[in-house]
């Protein structure tokens, strides 16, 4: 299953580049406004989903996004592959695989199936922000590892309520985006270390400024829940994203994920490459 998923992701990614080179169906949004696929597969920034929808599909269009991401930390490495399907700038479906490599040869892996609905508003036009609800169903590929560690559950579902707005003439007369979200989650370290029986509310936010329409610089914050046991740190990053054309986008971020499973100062760099078609 993991191998199949990886091959599927690579094939889709290859297809994405071919698609990007030719005419693509989902091309109705303005450059950059579909964001990037986050590490959980939902469109957003890097470490959190935003109220934006994957692919460049506007009303009456469909589009795909595919991405690979790599987060290199002091003691860990997170590798993700994600696919998302956007319909009419209204609904997004996503599937992603996260591989979390621990010191030594240990590895944890989970799949995340996401669905996002734009409930109201538009990211750019009108006064109201774009409001979206995201579901992320997370499922570990090998629950026996978690069981051995004494973690209660190997699956869980997050619900995220997000609002995002892009001001065309914002900070320093540049396009400026802000996103705030509330998440109901039972996940420990976003699910990489399993799930709890009860859930908690956490807040997330992002802000970005576009020096011009091809570049975005910004920062993100992700509050993490405290379920007792191993303490979790809030996550933050600063990023630079590049949108040379609608077919391809990429981002680099400096991430500070604090303490993970007892190991302190998990800082490092995040890199993602995405194709849209």
């Amino acid at each position: 299953m993991p191998r199949k998923f990886a091959i599927g992701t690579i094939l889709s990614f290859a297809a994405a580049f071919v698609g990007a080179a030719s005419a693509y169906a989902g091309d109705g949004k303005l450059l950059g406004t579909s964001g990037l696929l986050s590490i959980e597969g939902s469109a957003g920034g890097g470490i959190i989903p935003w109220a934006v929808l994957a692919s460049y599909a506007e009303a009456e269009q469909m589009g795909f996004s595919a991405s690979v991401a790599n987060v290199n930390l002091r003691d860990y490495r997170l590798r993700t592959g994600a696919l998302a399907f956007g319909v009419g700038n209204r609904v997004e479906f996503s599937a992603s695989n996260q591989r979390f490599e621990l010191p030594g040869d240990a590895r944890l892996s989970q799949n995340i199936f996401g669905a996002k609905l734009r409930v109201a508003g538009d990211l750019i036009y009108g006064r109201a922000p774009q409001l979206a609800i995201t579901l992320q169903h997370k499922r570990h590929q090998d629950p026996s590892i978690l069981n051995a560690l004494g973690v209660p559950l190997s699956t869980g579902t997050d619900v995220v309520f997000s609002a995002a707005k892009l001001w065309i003439d914002g900070v320093l007369n540049r396009n400026t985006l802000a996103n705030i979200s509330l998440r109901r989650t039972s996940a420990r370290e976003i699910g990489l270390l399993g799930f709890n029986h009860s859930a908690k509310w956490v807040a997330e936010g992002a802000i970005a400024v576009l020096p011009n329409r091809f570049w975005a610089i910004g920062a993100e914050f992700r509050q993490k829940p405290d379920f007792g046991g191993l303490p979790e740190s809030h996550w933050r990053d600063v990023f630079v994203a590049w949108f040379p054309k609608k077919g391809i986008s990429t981002a680099v971020a400096y991430v500070d994920l604090g303490t993970i499973a007892g190991r302190k100062s998990q800082t490092g760099f995040f890199f993602t490459l995405q194709a849209n078609f």
Partner: protein
């Protein structure tokens, strides 16, 4: 290297705060519309922009389909007036309302964006600053509801 990491880390922590302050400053600093007309280069600049935009429209089949029956001389004059008026210039718009001008066209959200992209290319082509471009795009965005789905 450790020093650099610390600097980046402390920047990461304070950047959101700094950006929020910038937002507050930007909101307090509302653009004067007559200033935009001057930024565009007054009548000569507005005319250059209209001409550049018509070049982009004619080169873009996805937008050109809406201009099949357009008398471009007439459209050019109205476009110059519209940009002039909206940027605070001393003109009078003598055309149809935006809603009437686009009536029956059933312009989709994607097609409105294609026109926005043509406008971006035109503004880039005549060398307008990004800040000036964004001021004008923000005004164009206000017209969207009277243009799409008419």
């Amino acid at each position: 290297m450790k020093n650099l990491t610390q600097i980046v880390a402390s920047t990461a922590k304070s950047l959101p705060l700094a950006i929020f302050f910038l937002l507050a400053i930007a909101c307090a600093n509302k653009t004067q519309p007559d200033l935009l007309y001057q930024e565009l280069g007054a009548q000569a600049g507005v005319t250059r922009l209209a001409d550049a935009l018509i070049v982009e429209i004619k080169a873009n089949p996805k937008v050109m389909i809406f201009f099949q029956d357009t008398q471009f001389d007439y459209f050019r004059d109205r476009l110059i007036e519209d940009i002039c008026v909206r940027s605070g210039g001393p003109c009078t718009y003598q055309g149809l309302s935006m809603a009437d001008a686009h009536s029956g066209m059933e312009i989709r959200e994607s097609e409105f964006n294609f026109f926005v992209e043509d406008t971006q290319k035109a503004m880039q082509a005549i060398g307008l600053k990004t800040s000036t471009q964004n001021k004008l795009l923000a005004l164009l965005a206000l017209e969207r509801n009277e243009i799409i789905r008419q």
